[in-house]
């Protein structure tokens, strides 16, 4: 077998040596180099066309007064005026605070619950694999479709949520509205997001817990370190890089949050749950202030990208320790 393979190869070589270059390539197949570019090019072309080109276009639009419902109106370059308007607008800062409230509280709750659950699952009780999969379900589902259905559960007159709360606490079920109340609504979106994404943090923490080699604990046991001390000096530091990774992904995703909240509260009541993305959608596709909203999009993009970069540097430092 190897003999024939060898002889065919040397035949190919011999033929290749005596044929002109274009023919040679056909005999030996494409060269690795051209194959590499041939394989990568389609992805690059697609990303350039659907990500980079539009991004540059957004940047361009952000310096204009363009309104896409009036495509024939005179296009004026207004420099940084859009950026100036946005950064000095109190409403925008209020929206940013709403977004920050949402991002921070969802992360805090999801980290606590997610880590707690992972810690418990790691005790490897009987049937833990089955229950882990069951817990994971909410995060795989469509946020929009699920957000829509939560409006049904939160109905003050008939909803299951109000009923359950009143069943356990005795509060009159018709006395509070999770979606209609300006004080409760910001917490309602935190609650649904936590319901949905705690499994995500849990799954990553679980990977962290499972990566800790057992002999570290055995050594600690020999040194008679208490369980409490083992938890704080071994478990927490070893899981931290994983936890930070989960926080990074959740932070980015929730800063961009649109679908679930748009269907659950659509930013209301008033603008108490109007996250940055929802504001952007309103400015761009309801008020048609294309230039203005392009500038806002760029500001959001730069914020996310910058924050993520700083964070990744911190993450690397933690990993090195």
């Amino acid at each position: 077998m190897s003999l024939t393979a060898d002889s065919t190869r040397s035949l190919a070589d011999r033929v290749a040596a005596t044929t002109p270059a274009p023919m040679m390539r056909r005999v030996r197949g494409l060269s690795d180099r051209s194959l590499a570019w041939l394989f990568i090019a389609p992805v690059m072309v697609l990303l350039l066309a659907i990500n980079i080109f539009p991004l540059i276009w957004t940047i361009r639009l952000s310096f204009t007064n363009y309104k896409s419902n009036l495509p024939n109106a005179a296009l004026r370059w207004i420099g940084l005026a859009n950026y100036n308007d946005i950064l000095t607008d109190d409403d925008i800062w209020a929206r940013m605070q709403t977004t920050a409230h949402f991002v921070i509280w969802t992360i805090v709750l999801q980290v606590l619950l997610g880590f707690g659950l992972a810690f418990l699952i790691n005790k490897k009780f009987r049937g833990h694999a089955f229950w882990t999969t069951a817990i994971l379900l909410p995060m795989m589902l469509s946020p929009a479709v699920v957000g829509n259905f939560w409006t049904f559960l939160f109905q003050p007159q008939i909803g299951l949520f109000n009923y359950v709360v009143s069943f356990f606490t005795g509060i009159d079920p018709h006395s509070f509205q999770m979606i209609g109340d300006v004080r409760l609504a910001p917490w309602t979106i935190v609650l649904v997001d936590t319901w949905m994404w705690t499994p995500y943090v849990m799954l990553i923490c679980l990977a962290g817990l499972r990566s800790i080699p057992e002999d570290i604990y055995e050594a600690a046991e020999v040194d008679r370190a208490s369980a409490w001390r083992q938890f704080w000096t071994i478990t927490v530091p070893m899981v931290l890089p994983f936890l930070m990774l989960a926080v990074l992904f959740r932070g980015i995703e929730n800063f961009k949050m649109f679908d679930m909240v748009n269907l659950l509260t659509s930013g209301g009541p008033g603008s108490t749950t109007e996250l940055a993305s929802i504001t952007l959608k309103r400015e761009a596709f309801e008020k048609w202030r294309t230039g203005y909203s392009s500038a806002f999009a760029i500001i959001l993009f730069v914020t996310i990208f910058g924050a993520a970069n700083v964070y990744v540097k911190a993450l690397k430092r933690v990993k090195q320790r």
């Binding site: 690795d32 697609l46 276009w57 896409s68 659950l117 418990l120 379900l137 909203s293």
Partner: protein, 315 residues
């Protein structure tokens, strides 16, 4: 393997019981909303909005019939003069003084979700496999920068490019078409697909291909006959992740489709009956829409971690 009975890492039976109870409790609480969706799909209209909420109820397929049909209310005389109903769904609708006026749009919307989902998944995985193989096996100048660039497109908020894409699609006539959504979802998914598949292909020993090359295979043949069969599990897992994303996506579907190519997520909230949202029908649509994902989640459970972290965490 350390001896299980005396291992310091093995939890005590009591700790296990406590942990198990708490986890099961959490699981049950978080699954209640999902079970409630499933239950509501089989309730009658009045049962679905009764208070206190009904846990025990007489199941009916009313919601499903309402989901798939458009009905009109008729006077008793009109109904009396009609020939008797021929099917069970006819009879169900007639019992509410209504007649079926025709099929609803749900089948078409579901079909759109399937076409867009599978179309974009196929493209994203095809392009992703080629690029991942190249990144894994060939020396490419600035490979790390290119890979980071591919990843960073996923970090970009869709809103940052939504406006020009909307304008571009309007210009090119891609608004409200299958092709438009497929291209867009492919572009979003391709970053995930390259990163995940690169991880999977990295794990296939190079020796297999090298042996094939020595045996006289060309690179392309080695890729097709040696690497691809080895990467099948990875390709399948990646495909499911891409499919789930396209299936669930809402923002761009809302923005770029209206009638023809609209997928399920923007459609479901607008399933309405006579007095606002028809909850049993919405629940039926939601159940129909979520079931494939539940099945996929169970199939994927071993690769979930990898998928949700772009291959950063492997088990």
């Amino acid at each position: 393997m350390s001896a299980a009975a005396h291992s310091v890492v093995e939890a005590s039976p009591r700790a296990k019981t406590v942990a198990g109870t708490l986890v099961v409790l959490y699981a049950v609480v978080t699954l209640v909303p999902l079970l409630w969706i499933g239950a509501t799909a089989f309730k009658s209209g009045p049962d679905s909005i009764s208070y206190p909420p009904k846990v025990v109820f007489e199941p009916t397929l009313e919601g499903w019939v309402n989901l798939f049909t458009v009905r009109s209310r008729q006077s008793p005389e009109f109904l009396h003069n009609l020939p008797p109903p021929t099917t069970w769904w006819d009879r169900l609708v007639r019992s509410h003084d209504m007649v079926i006026a025709g099929p609803s749009k749900v089948v078409q919307r579901f079909g759109n979700s399937l076409v867009v989902g599978f179309g974009s998944t196929f493209l994203a995985v095809l392009l992703g496999t080629l690029a991942a193989y190249a990144f894994s096996r060939f020396r490419i100048p600035l490979a790390d920068d290119l890979l980071f660039f591919i990843l960073s497109t996923r970090m970009m908020p869709p809103i940052a490019v939504a406006i020009p894409i909307y304008l571009m699609y309007r210009q090119l006539g891609l608004t409200d078409t299958w092709l438009g959504l497929i291209l867009l979802y492919t572009a979003v998914n391709v970053s995930l697909s390259v990163w995940l598949l690169k991880g999977f292909i990295d794990e296939i020993p190079r020796e297999y291909e090298e042996a094939a090359l020595v045996d006289g295979y060309t690179r392309l043949q080695a890729f097709r006959r040696v690497v691809l069969p080895q990467a099948v599990t990875g390709i399948a897992a990646t495909s499911i992740f891409c499919l789930i994303f396209s299936w669930n996506e809402y923002a761009f579907a809302l923005l770029l489709t209206s009638g023809n190519a609209q997928t399920m997520p923007p459609f479901i909230p607008f399933i309405i009956g006579e007095g606002g949202q028809d909850w049993p029908a919405v629940a039926a649509a939601t159940t129909l829409f979520l079931m494939p994902i539940v099945v996929f989640t169970v199939l994927l459970r071993k690769h979930l971690l990898r998928g949700i972290t772009f291959g950063a965490v492997r088990r």
